[in-house]
Symmetry: C2
Subunit: 340 residues, 2 copies
DNA sequence: CTGAAAGCGCTTACAG
DNA sequence: CTGAAAGCGCTTACAG
């Protein structure tokens, strides 16, 4: 327990409250509260006195009390599966930065792949009366029920589910998969090998890829699957599987840039040239995609835009203005680089 | 705004409170509160009735109110510079998981390298009356003052500063640097090239390295520096600098595994063999270190242990039991692999 | 532009 | 083991 050793006020140990500021400034607590939340509504001279009193006391508002009284917590929960090796990393980074800049506190929850952990985190978020929950996983009936009963805005990001509980900000994974297939075809590759993670979205991209591939009547393809989170290190096994194939693929389509990076490293270690002997496509356009040698062809998703749209939706809801649309499609962009 | 469409109770829109549960269970709110916070103190029969009432109403405690009344928020702030490409990633992952498992909510703040952002985040944390702040950056006088006046436990992790404000859980970066130097010497390398990030801890490791290196009278070395956060992509420039050196180094000592990975990729792309032509040492032992080809010699820091020690300190403080020691040294371990 | 006062939903001595 | 009641520190109609 730290004590205020250099308090220039009465040497009490408890934190200064609105009351302390109010009496020091010679105004009511209501006025101080107004000043703190919306400085422009108090007279300039009053504001001046309050500002001084706050500085003198070192007052820091108690948002537990404020949230209880106003039933606005100014807190948003961000729930993602993992922090490490995650394809969401850039999106989450942008999300947390933008939320903080907007004066919102971020509660971070790591769901892993466990449904019970997800439910605990949702419950914790609702206990804090968060203004919104930003969610990236599959929604269980339990979760749906809890969330529907609460006033928190439920924002599913990175994806566009058919029937979002609140709103969804993301893109069509199936369309992204098709786009990759068309790219692969346009470059003249004939024997793709798909590496698909076991998550539902990766499966949707696979569906999109396969649909577009077969629509062109483009012959057979092979595939492997990896556990989530898909990591660099999975590449070793994947590459071994590829080598055992009766016929080598000419392009490996990976579910993440880390995986793509791993496959490239393995291929080079085996003495192959990328893309001449074997091409590689990633997903997510993480920073390494543009920095690897060779640079990695990937699908860019604008994580910062997802973050901004989510935040705009939260704001609109707080303002009680136009109800947000249910789906916000931020699209994606295939970036062709050296690896394919 | 979602409404409870399938409420099996009176169809009011507001969330059920302790009062609702209490009257339904035929007990006082005090008893329900006790049950929620410490089930074992209420009689079994009473507990049963309360449990049913909670289930029937879908009650979720309001921790804003609870925290205000008890002045325990059960929330901990975790403040780190970045989420992406961060050397702390494994530690943070472990930290968040362990805190959540202990029923504590994690407030995440990204400080970047901005002092004003750091101060805003500390202020936000104190506004929420967090039980503890887990911090990884340099402490400004402003931050120190705010923190000293608050009852929150201030935990500096990843490092062992001389005079921690609260407690510190980490290891000696200088000792780690020396250990790397001794390793490099023991392997017979003669011309190291250091790549040091501009952060203070990286500088401490550099100091440790240089001290041990020169103590052995081991000749000259060269060096480069990189911006923080140090990333895979910095390697390209670093490698170009190395190639311009009058004499090639025989080992490159990097400030992070990502950087080491990048240097290896560049070296291989230039037709060099690692470690035969040029060896590489990383730092942090992130998952890629063991998965890269060649696998990367690195310094392991037990992030999960840092997390557990920090959490144990928070618990001890809450229990008002033995005051925690000021420094907890979790050490480090050099892991020799293929790259050096 | 400002104040008096009720109320937000809990916790916790105190008493029994 | 349980209850009545005060109090945590704010916000916000309402009135002026």
């Amino acid at each position: 327990m730290n004590h205020a050793t250099d308090a220039d006020e009465a040497a009490d140990t408890r934190a200064p409250t609105l009351d302390d500021v109010a009496s020091r400034a010679g105004v009511s607590t209501a006025t101080v509260s107004r000043f703190v939340n919306n400085p422009s509504v108090v007279a300039a001279a009053t504001a001046e006195r309050i500002r001084d009193a706050i500085a003198a006391t070192g007052y820091i508002p108690n948002l537990l009390a404020g949230g209880l009284a106003s039933s606005k917590s100014k807190m948003v929960a961000v729930l993602i599966p993992y922090l490490t090796d995650s394809i969401f990393n850039d999106t989450i980074q942008a999300m947390v930065e933008e939320l903080s800049a907007a004066g919102t506190t971020v509660m971070l929850g790591l769901t892993g792949v466990s449904e019970s952990r997800t439910e605990d985190l949702i419950r914790a978020a609702l206990s804090r009366r968060v203004d919104a929950i930003i969610f990236t996983g599959p929604v269980t009936p339990q979760v749906e029920q809890m969330v529907r009963r609460s006033p928190a805005l439920f924002i599913q990001v990175w994806d566009l589910p058919e029937d979002p509980i609140g709103i969804a900000v993301g893109f069509s994974h199936e369309a992204a998969g098709s786009a990759v297939a068309r790219f692969v075809i346009s470059r003249g590759y004939r024997r793709p090998h798909l590496v698909t993670a076991k998550g539902s979205r990766a499966q949707m991209r696979r569906t999109g890829f396969v649909g577009a591939w077969e629509a062109e009547g483009s012959g057979p393809f092979t595939e492997s699957s990896v556990e989530v989170p898909s990591r660099f290190g999975h590449a070793r096994r994947i590459f071994a599987e590829i080598r055992r194939l009766p016929e080598m693929p000419d392009v490996v389509v990976c579910g993440s840039d880390h995986l793509a990076q791993g496959v490239i490293v393995e291929a080079l270690a085996a003495g192959l040239k990328v893309p001449e002997d074997i091409a590689v496509v990633g997903f997510g356009n993480s920073s390494i995609a543009g920095e690897m040698r060779p640079t990695i062809t990937s699908v860019e998703v604008d994580g910062a835009r997802i973050a901004r749209e989510a935040i705009a939706a939260i704001r609109r809801k707080a303002d009680k203005s136009t109800p947000p649309e249910r789906w916000i499609d931020v699209g994606f962009r295939l970036i062709a680089r050296e690896s394919a």
